[in-house]
């Protein structure tokens, strides 16, 4: 069953274009010039129940805008979307009780109060009955091991602890759909790991449909099988993580260990040399030429050991982003489509 259905969803907004110079600013008093920014351009996407999907993309690609559209916080310019059968921007209470949005960069808990008080407010607003509320709260606080911090004012908590509390607040009403916007931003490695583990566990146990945006590839690798890459407001890839590497990681990292400790001078002929620290050399070789290159190398040079790996995911994705931006800058929509095709 499809939980999220998006069809040619578009969101543009106008920004006031400020003119420079005295004459222009005088003119600006009477006539304002605007510039249209296209945050999301015609996105199509379907997410099935229980899926965990990651949105990847450079800053300003439209990931957060998409999540805000699906939460009904903002209105689209055109297109349709349905989440759990509801049109999000109608903001019906029936819909708003069924999902949650967590934003890593904004906090909604009362700053000067213990988190427990904010939770109680949520209980009232979402009309959660007492037993269920207490059960969920206790379960979540022990899963995230923040039980003893419940009565401490939020301003005294660390960033990681605060984020855990924000998550609990969002999950108290047992949402069926969860939108996570950069949930681990600014956290240290341990806190990041804890939150990842929690999300993984919680998602598996409850099977709730989750859409996540993140800058940390580790979040994505740990949590999501399905990845959607958005750039320039469009979906340029939709598939598994492995596929990204298969499709976009055109080259492999080959590590060579020379048995005589001496590095030959003609290595450039085989591929791009990344590093050379005798007796070890790392180089990039085109995926389809790996076998041929290796056999030629073995033929001409004394090699003690050879290993072939995929390049790190971060690099592949960064590469995809920069390609998408280049092409997007050159010819906009149509070119990005081509990237999806090829």
């Amino acid at each position: 069953m499809a939980v999220v259905e998006i069809e040619s969803l578009t969101k543009s907004y106008r920004v006031y274009h400020k003119a420079e110079g005295l004459a222009a600013s005088l003119a600006g008093l009477f006539h304002r010039r605007y510039r249209d920014v296209h945050a999301v351009r015609g996105i199509n996407l379907t997410v099935e129940a229980g899926e965990l999907v990651a949105f990847l993309g450079p800053n300003g690609a439209g990931k957060t805008t998409t999540l805000k559209l699906l939460s009904g916080v903002i209105n689209p310019t055109s297109g349709t979307a349905r989440v759990l059968g509801h049109v999000p921007w109608r903001r019906e209470n029936a819909y708003r009780r069924r999902f949650a949005l967590v934003m890593g960069q904004k906090n909604q808990l009362w700053w000067d109060l213990p988190a427990a008080e904010s939770f109680r407010l949520h209980q009232q607003i979402y009309r959660i009955d007492r037993d269920q509320y207490e059960r969920t709260r206790d379960e979540l606080t022990s899963l995230l091991s923040v039980r003893q911090l419940l009565s401490q004012p939020v301003r005294e908590l660390s960033l990681g602890e605060r984020m855990k509390m924000e998550l609990i607040a969002a999950l108290l009403h047992s949402p069926e759909v969860l939108f996570l916007d950069e949930p681990t931003i600014g956290l240290d490695v341990v806190a990041q790991y804890n939150i990842q583990q929690f999300l993984k566990h919680y998602q598996q146990q409850r099977g709730i449909t989750t859409l996540l945006t993140s800058h940390y590839m580790k979040d994505v690798a740990a949590l999501c099988r399905r990845v959607v890459i958005i750039a320039q407001g469009q979906i340029i890839f939709d598939g598994s993580l492995d596929e990204i590497i298969g499709r976009f990681g055109g080259r492999k990292v080959v590590t060579l260990l020379f048995s005589n400790g001496h590095i030959p001078g003609d290595l450039r002929a085989y591929g791009e040399v990344l590093s050379a620290e005798p007796p070890r050399v790392k180089m990039l070789v085109a995926r389809n030429a790996v076998t041929a290159t290796l056999s030629r190398l073995l033929e001409h040079h004394p090699l003690e050991d050879v290993s072939v790996e995929d390049p790190p995911l971060e690099e592949v994705i960064a590469d995809v982003f920069s390609k998408a931006e280049d092409i997007g800058r050159r010819s906009g929509a149509e070119a990005a489509g081509r990237l999806v095709g090829g």
């Binding site: 907004y13 916080v73 209105n75 029936a94 708003r96 904004k106 008080e117």
Partner: protein, 285 residues
């Protein structure tokens, strides 16, 4: 299962949470209460001075068997009504209205829009400023003292009507405040919100009879029928001060108009609020 929350219980939780917060900064709370009370008392001092030099404000109105004028204690009853209404508005809405633009600036309005509860209710009442209740106490005290000095005991019906129209006054003031906050979002500036509010509500602080003449009459009509701040205090205060026997046509029409003004203000401000949300929701990224 009902889809909307119990608004009363949510409101009580707002009030409770605000109190918990205030009690964590007890010293600050006390100073805030005392300083806003001393402001009120200084104002009172000014009127005490004024009434040293005059027996009343304006002329005596004579309606056959009954004569009325704004003497010292009649005016103090009026003043206490101003205090009661203003302190209620400050306690319930002031902090929230000024916070509204901050919510928009920081994008935290998103959270309010997510909640399965009326957004205007949530935005308008989230924080209760308990410190402003000190002025309510001063207002009630002043009213009691003035009634004693006048030797006047209002009937239960009078008190009931008084409370009803105080509620109307609070609603009109709230509408004006939330409308100002919403329009300031539109205009993209907010600094002058509080000033503007102060200047406009200033016209509610005196009995409307004092506005007459070539400048006063248009002012009175404008601030009664266009921006109805003059009915806010005048209507309830009259119910407490005079016997319930209507003396003039306006004794009947003005309260009726106050009810109408309340309904219109609430509707208009709700419309403005929704429009400002709409522009937020279509303009933000």
């Amino acid at each position: 299962m009902r889809t909307h929350p119990s608004y009363l219980r949510v409101l009580l939780t707002f009030a409770r949470n605000s109190l918990v917060r205030d009690m964590t900064f007890r010293g600050n709370f006390l100073i805030e209460t005392l300083s806003s009370m001393s402001w009120v008392i200084m104002n009172l001092g000014f009127y005490v001075l004024v009434f040293q030099h005059t027996p009343r404000l304006g002329a005596v109105t004579d309606w056959g068997e009954y004569a009325f004028s704004w003497g010292k204690y009649e005016f103090f009853l009026f003043l206490s009504t101003t205090l009661v209404i203003n302190s209620l508005v400050q306690t319930l809405f002031m902090e929230n209205a000024s916070e509204f633009s901050e919510l928009i600036r920081t994008g935290k309005l998103d959270f309010a829009l997510l909640k399965p509860i009326d957004t205007q209710f949530l935005i308008s009442l989230q924080r209760v400023q308990w410190a402003s209740l000190g002025n309510l106490a001063v207002g009630v005290g002043l009213a009691a003292y003035s009634l004693v000095r006048l030797g006047w005991v209002p009937t239960a019906a009078q008190v009931g009507l008084y409370l009803l129209f105080v509620a109307c006054g609070v609603a009109i003031m709230y509408s004006l405040m939330i409308a100002l906050a919403a329009t300031s979002i539109w205009l993209g500036r907010n600094q002058s919100l509080y000033d503007f509010w102060f200047y406009i509500t200033n016209f509610s602080r005196y009995p409307m009879e004092i506005y007459h003449g070539p400048l006063g009459t248009p002012l009175r009509l404008f601030f009664t029928f266009i921006i109805p701040v003059m009915v806010v205090v005048n209507v309830p205060a009259r119910f407490l001060i005079r016997p319930l026997v209507p003396q003039t046509v306006s004794d009947l029409t003005l309260p009726a108009f106050a009810i109408l003004a309340t309904l219109v203000s609430l509707t208009a401000s709700r419309y403005l609020f929704q429009r400002s949300l709409l522009s937020y929701r279509s303009a933000s990224s």
